[in-house]
């Protein structure tokens, strides 16, 4: 692996739900403007790991974190970190599309409005750009005022991506974004992710190894809360170093 800038680094990170330990001694570097995939069997902790990055796990009262996650030269779990601000720089798209009960336009503009942006022209412009980047603009440009619920599942998910993009986050986390979608919708999202990485860092959790192979630059294989192997995607799938990794990959392919 080449030496390059590091976007996010996990240092001896551990995570518990109350007494149960979910993540153990995570040490990993995420590189900027690349797509990193987190793969592994159900329950291995990959979603939990993802949600630690933007501290969404804080919402669960029994969660406990040990170790550090360093972003922008700072451990995000330090006491004086502004979580609200953190989440504006690290955005998230969820497994099940969760648009707000509002119009398409209002959904995308939401993030801007909570930052008290009032310039209507600027908002319009950013909404348009975000929808374009999410590959949705052409399909909705004439009906921005309809309820977001009238879109199909795949369109709703792209809307959620547009919504996340509108506030221009540095990093985007995606938690199995295509698991509720059909292959065509999935393909659309995969291709737009590949375009997005030019401007930002993407971390995606997926249970679909083919997807990881298709779109990611780096892959991390997790099992029972531990990082088993982490390397460039091509390298991992063609020549896995760890037997456990080999077993998992072959189990799928074989």
């Amino acid at each position: 692996m080449q030496e390059q800038d590091i976007k996010i680094e996990f240092k001896d990170m551990n995570f518990w739900y109350s007494e149960r330990q979910i993540l153990m001694d995570i040490n990993m570097k995420i590189y900027p403007k690349k797509i990193t995939a987190l793969i592994g069997p159900s329950g291995c902790g990959k979603s939990t790991l993802l949600r630690c990055i933007n501290r969404m796990n804080d919402l669960i009262s029994i969660s406990k974190v040990g170790g550090k996650i360093i972003y922008d030269d700072k451990d995000i779990y330090e006491k004086d970190v502004d979580v609200i601000d953190l989440r504006k720089k690290i955005g998230m798209v969820f497994q099940k599309p969760n648009p707000f009960p509002m119009s398409i336009f209002d959904n995308v503009a939401y993030g801007l409005r909570i930052q008290n942006m009032t310039d209507k022209n600027k908002i319009n412009q950013i909404v348009k750009e975000s929808l374009e980047k999410a590959d949705l603009w052409e399909e909705v440009k004439d009906r921005l005022n309809i309820s977001a619920f009238r879109l199909s599942g795949g369109q709703q998910q792209r809307l959620c991506i547009a919504r996340a993009l509108a506030i221009n986050p540095d990093v985007i986390l995606l938690d199995e974004p295509c698991s509720a979608l059909d292959p065509l919708a999935t393909a659309k999202i995969e291709s737009l992710l590949k375009k997005l990485k030019d401007e930002r860092t993407i971390i995606i959790v997926t249970h679909n190894m083919h997807q990881a192979k298709r779109i990611s630059d780096y892959t991390c294989y997790l099992l029972n809360g531990k990082v088993i192997e982490y390397s460039g995607t091509a390298e991992m799938f063609d020549n896995p170093k760890n037997k456990l990794t080999k077993d998992y990959i072959n189990g799928e392919f074989g």
Binding site: N54, M56, I84, G91, N98, F100, G111, I114, A164, I167
Partner: protein
């Protein structure tokens, strides 16, 4: 053997159905009795005299007048005044309970508030009479604290648990998805509440308020004891008023059964029934729509 069982089942179902219809029959009977007796009043009192007349003086020598406008205004003053107090207080409490309070605190505060609903209205009226009304008289330099303001405060206390309970239920029933999505975009909790939850739960909250309105319109004992019972047209909230409910309660024991006065009281009852029925119906429709919206 099979047939016997089936027959049995049929009888049992019919039994339960008949019992259930009783509830419907009661409502219809209430309406019928109010209507049959009350409508007779209108054979002798014109509608405009009744609803627009400002003087209610059924026992006057010679020319009794039957205008219930001041009574209606009394009811409306209590309804609106109590809501002005109870809505902000109630909504704020509901938001606190649903979104902010720690579970342990919620376990104590929520039942405590629901217990207020268990305090008999006559006891709250008593406290209004003995404690609140002299206090109000003192603070505002009035000769008597038995007025619309005192009534509004007491009724607000009675309506508060309804508004809080239902609004809190509405908020907690909103799906987790909205909250997560909002927070993941870097919203503060208050922004999430203000810009996502409240708009989404608005109809449910409106329904809660309407139910509270219904209670305020129908409240009898508390207003009987603290509202002052003057039939003169009020000019401010410091004036004594007599809402429709209090009027019926005061006069019903003194009227001759079957007289025009008696019938006119039933007519007032009819008006009250229609008002509360309408308010409850509207809030029903709103709640149904809210439930349907989120059942995906």
């Amino acid at each position: 053997m099979q047939n016997y069982r089936k027959q049995n089942e049929g009888i049992i179902e019919i039994f339960f159905l008949s019992v259930s219809v009783i509830a419907l029959l009661i409502l219809v009977s209430i309406f019928l009795f109010l209507f049959i007796t009350g409508i007779k009043a209108f054979t002798q009192i014109s509608l405009s005299d009744f609803f627009l007349g400002t003087v209610w003086n059924p026992t006057a020598y010679g020319e009794p007048t039957w205008g219930i406008l001041s009574l209606i205004i009394g009811t409306l003053m209590v309804a609106i005044g109590s809501l002005i107090i109870a809505i902000p207080l109630g909504l704020a409490s509901a938001i606190y309970l649903s979104e902010i309070a720690r579970p342990e605190i919620r376990e104590i505060v929520k039942p405590a508030i629901e217990m207020i609903a268990g305090i008999p209205s006559v006891v709250l009226g008593l406290i209004g009479l003995l404690l609140l009304s002299p206090l109000i008289a003192n603070i505002f330099g009035l000769s008597s604290g038995l007025n619309a303001l005192t009534a509004c405060i007491i009724v607000a206390i009675m309506v508060l648990p309804t508004i809080i309970s239902i609004s809190e239920d509405v908020l907690t029933s909103l799906p987790k998805d909205f909250r997560e999505a909002s927070l993941a975009l870097g919203a503060t909790k208050w922004q999430m509440i203000r810009m996502t939850l409240l708009p989404a739960g608005l109809s449910g909250i409106v329904a809660a308020i309407m139910l509270g309105l219904g209670r305020a319109v129908g409240e009898t004992m508390a207003v009987l004891m603290v509202a002052g019972n003057s039939i003169a047209m009020p000019t401010s909230f410091f004036d004594p008023i007599r809402p429709m409910t209090a009027n019926i309660a005061i006069e019903i024991n003194e009227v001759v059964k079957g007289s025009l006065h008696y019938e006119s009281l039933f007519a007032i009852g009819l008006v009250l029934f229609v008002m509360t029925f309408a308010v409850n119906l509207i809030s029903d429709i709103i709640i149904e729509r809210q439930v349907r919206k989120y059942k995906w």
